[in-house]
Symmetry: C2
Subunit: 204 residues, 2 copies
């Protein structure tokens, strides 16, 4: 795609970086930064120690599996695709494989990376690597004992409907499901994955 | 859609809530929480004071406008749809109108709310209300002087391609663009908006 001729250089000059809170999962930073020739001003933000992984599993009849749980931070029950943290020093696909196995018991022969997307670029450096996995073999789920997860197997097209309606409510799940659906419509997925998804669509 | 018969009750019991850092935009909290009968354990997370608004403007020939900027927190140049913070006590659509006008100069006659999605439900309570706006009238942009924004007007179908490829790199922009595109494919948008988007698609 042609690119306009624009200035992509970094206009930010940190004057001082300060970690004001540190925990296992993230650091809260309050930096003093200068934008071009402006005066220094505070920029408070979050530096994550984990990726926010998302995986859409597609099984042999074109269904997917959602995870239901009560989210403490949101104070409500949510439906999401299998999600979990992945250490920054570990390849995201390895974390995705571990997370899928933990939450669903599935092991997948085929993995496609959809995108690495920013969760909230003004506030946090969190990156969500998003995947679709197929060629599934069922094993035993082994979730974190403190997690109380519900699994729900539904046709992929119903997951698309839930992503549009807000019933699936987190951005990484929505973007992943709609990304797969849009690539399917454009014929831009591996042929065996498209066959699974079209089988599901035509059998309903 | 039929719902499985599952337990959606809140299993979390906060033992102690502690604000460990407070700034204009968010609070960092380190709570002690009990999950069902488990032992109390720390749950550190972020409570936002702002929504993370996203707006996809569609103009009279079916193009959209992206915003380019160098993001300090990501340390790279990004393309996103017009985005900005909205106070929690203000209707999100009012913040969306203000943000669209600031960053693009557009005022829109028509607004459709796409979804309210969670940015990262394990870590933060940030909600991203996402909109599509059309019936645009051009005025003068008036961005925050410290923001150095680039505007880029492109056919909507090119924005879909950029969302799939990762060239548009934040989850709210990707979910919004793909949500509009999926609803267009299903015929689930207002007729005048679908006419704009189909006009664009057929003229290319």
């Amino acid at each position: 795609m042609p690119q306009p001729d624009i200035d992509r250089t970094n206009p930010w000059k940190p004057v001082h970086k300060s970690e004001v809170f540190d925990c296992r999962y993230f650091v809260t930073r309050s930096d003093s930064v200068r934008h071009r020739a402006g005066e220094p001003r505070p920029y408070t933000h979050i530096r994550m120690k984990y990726f926010g992984i998302a995986v859409v599993p597609i099984d042999e009849d074109g269904s997917t599996t959602l995870i239901g749980q009560y989210r403490y931070v949101l104070d409500r029950f949510t439906w999401e695709v299998p999600r979990g943290g992945g250490r920054l020093d570990r390849p995201p696909v390895d974390s995705a494989k571990a997370e899928l196995s933990e939450e669903t018991g599935y092991r997948a022969d085929h993995w496609l990376h959809l995108f690495n997307a920013s969760a909230s670029p003004g506030v946090t450096d969190e990156i969500a690597p998003c995947f679709v996995a197929w060629g599934l073999r069922q094993g035993e789920p082994h979730p974190d004992p403190v997690e109380q997860l519900v699994r729900r197997r539904i046709p992929f097209r119903d997951a698309v409907t839930m992503a549009l309606s807000g019933e699936i409510g987190d951005l990484a799940s929505i973007a992943s499901i709609l990304g797969i659906n849009t690539r399917l419509g454009r014929g831009e997925l591996p042929p065996d994955l498209m066959a699974l998804l079209r089988e599901e669509a035509s059998s309903g």
